[in-house]
């Protein structure tokens, strides 16, 4: 199984900004310290080896959109602003005119998770089919998309889309087989409800669990989460806030923290814990620091358990 992140930011798209780019250049030049490179390969190697991630790269600013590679039909989780770049890639493929069926699993219908759809060119092409699955009732799913593409929110209305678009509600208490994947949903705590997905194929298990507030005050809910994550190869987790923020000023805002994610993944014997849905106010350096801290936290409380931890960034590819 291979996963590609098209958008990883929470709540609102962000841009890197001039000040942040300038800071990256400043740090790279300081690190280079007058060094010269004979070849481009040597320069590339310097960038990769000598510069820290937030200097040579960044986490990106597109909102939630994750693709699970499939030899059959394209399969994605959520339609945040990252979907625009996926759509662009589809339109650049040589056989882009061939009718294609797309499968989208929706965590929920908040703005940042659907805003990419009006900018998804395949939706405008007759012949394409787009399946939109979610845990919410079909009329609720449909209504969110319709509203987004109607006056005064957007100039191109829903009925101008060329593709055939189908909404399907998936029940939470059983496995579904969709496009070669086994899929199960878990209802999560978030305004209006959200759904986590456990997706399995070829003996590998991926959990996509964003926009979920794990308060750990209700044992039944916590145990259900641990069992949903159990032994997963990868858990993509809403680690938007620090724990202190999550349970004080941002209580009931519907998001979790980096260390709650680590605790749940450690308990569930997860292989790889990937932090996702980043706070828009955090810059690359802050997110990188949080990653180091979360790894340190898991080292302290994990007591010898091995848990790989990463922070998702736009265009990151993970192979399970």
């Amino acid at each position: 199984m291979q996963v590609r992140f098209w958008g990883t930011r929470g709540s609102l798209p962000t841009s890197t900004g001039g000040a942040s780019i300038r800071e990256k250049i400043r740090q790279a030049l300081r690190q280079a310290d007058g060094r010269r490179w004979e070849t481009d390969e040597q320069l590339e190697a310097f960038i990769d080896d000598a510069l820290a991630f937030p200097v040579r790269n960044g986490y990106g600013g597109d909102t939630s959109c994750v693709q699970i590679a499939s030899r059959r039909e394209p399969t994605l989780l959520d339609m945040g602003s990252g979907l625009r770049r996926f759509g662009q890639q589809v339109m650049e493929t040589p056989d882009q005119d061939r009718p294609t069926t797309f499968h989208f699993f929706m965590s929920h219908l908040h703005w940042d998770h659907i805003m990419g759809f009006p900018f998804f060119p395949p939706a405008y092409l007759p012949g394409n089919t787009i399946h939109i699955y979610g845990g919410h009732p079909e009329n609720v799913l449909r209504e969110a998309f319709l509203r987004q593409q109607s006056t005064p929110c957007f100039p191109v209305h829903w009925d101008q889309l060329g593709a055939s678009i189908r909404f399907t509600r998936l029940e939470t208490d059983r496995w579904h087989r969709i496009n070669g994947f086994a899929v199960k949903l878990l209802r999560q705590a978030h305004h209006g409800g959200s759904f986590g997905y456990r997706i399995e194929k070829d003996g590998k298990a991926l959990v996509y669990s964003t926009d979920s507030e794990h308060k750990q005050q209700d044992d039944t809910e916590t145990e259900a989460t641990v069992s949903f994550y159990r032994e997963a190869d990868l858990v993509i987790f809403d680690a938007m806030y620090s724990l202190a923020d999550m349970i004080t000023v941002k209580e009931d805002w519907g998001h979790s923290s980096n260390i709650v994610g680590a605790d749940l993944c450690l308990r569930a014997n997860v292989k790889h814990y990937c932090m996702f849905h980043h706070e828009p106010a955090y810059d690359d350096a802050t997110l990188y620091e949080i990653l180091q801290e979360t790894r340190r936290y898991a080292e302290i409380v994990g007591e010898g358990k091995s848990l790989e931890i990463s922070t998702a960034y736009d265009d990151m590819v993970l192979r399970l």
């Binding site: 005050q217 923020d245 260390i259 340190r296």
Partner: protein, 274 residues
């Protein structure tokens, strides 16, 4: 799920215990883990035999189930409503007089089982004990892991200040007990007009987000009642966890208990002896 029902009298105790442990044995639990199951179920049953039916003889049921990973044993009675988990687990505190009836029994049950849950259902008390079957171990490994769900507290009142020493581990297994102890301590402190609570964490070895959450609940309670809460004497690993979770920004943290007392209650600082 299989079940066995017997009158709630001691003569049936062995039958009921055997009924629970037999399944553990059959499903390949190590011999000393089977003994843990027997001991935990025994403690729970003795509790029912002693307290559930003060004026009559009722029945007690044992339900057993194995799901491939865990053994679940429920003990059920129709006696007076009683949630044994509501008894604060104060561990080996010096203040034994403060320990409620059944406190030691349920402490033992909690230490032996991997998970304990209580519910009142259709007029019955249902206490469910879960025992996870450990994965097969390599030769030479200890068969029975070291128990890691021990949390102890020790309570002291100095002038207007309550000093609560917390020792051991506060994680998802012990957080509920910790929450209970803190709540009771704060309630008593409030009733006695004691506005300062200092947590001496010098003996705290391990804490996860589940424990930090309990601290935050206590902090909120204190704010609403104009009480002051501070933590002191954190071990280096716990200090790191406070920093990573940003708890050092929302709770006053002092290097030593003496520092905390000096800052919050000079009277208590004078009276306090380590």
């Amino acid at each position: 799920m299989a079940q066995m029902q017997r009158p709630a009298v001691a003569v049936h105790l062995d039958d009921l215990l055997r009924f629970a442990s037999e399944l553990a044995e059959r499903e390949g639990f190590a011999p000393d883990r089977v003994r843990d199951v027997e001991l935990a179920v025994e403690e729970s049953l003795v509790n029912i035999l002693t307290y559930a039916y003060p004026n009559r003889t009722g029945f007690v049921e044992v339900h057993r189930e194995f799901d491939g990973r865990s053994l679940r044993v429920s003990v059920v009675d129709n006696g007076v409503p009683f949630d044994p988990l509501s008894v604060p687990v104060t561990g080996l505190t010096v203040d034994t007089a403060r320990r409620g009836v059944g406190g030691l029994g349920i402490l033992l049950v909690r230490r032996l089982a991997d998970h304990v849950a209580y519910r009142r259902q259709e007029g019955a008390n249902v206490l469910t004990l879960t025992f996870d079957r450990p994965p097969p171990t390599r030769t030479g490994d200890p068969v029975h892991p070291i128990r890691d769900d021990i949390m102890e507290t020790q309570f002291q009142r100095i002038e207007n200040t309550t000093l609560l020493a917390v020792k051991g581990r506060v994680d998802h297994k012990t957080a509920k007990a910790f929450e209970e102890v803190l709540k009771n301590t704060l309630d008593e402190a409030s009733a006695d007009g004691s506005p300062v609570l200092v947590l001496d964490l010098s003996g705290l070895e391990y804490m996860t987000s589940a424990g930090l959450r309990v601290l935050m609940i206590a902090a909120k309670t204190c704010t609403s009642r104009q009480q002051k809460l501070a933590v002191a004497a954190l071990q280096p690993a716990i200090q790191e966890i406070f920093r990573i979770s940003r708890f050092d920004l929302v709770l006053p943290v002092y290097p030593t208990v003496a520092d905390a007392l000096k800052a919050l209650s000079p009277d208590a600082a004078v009276r306090w002896r380590e």
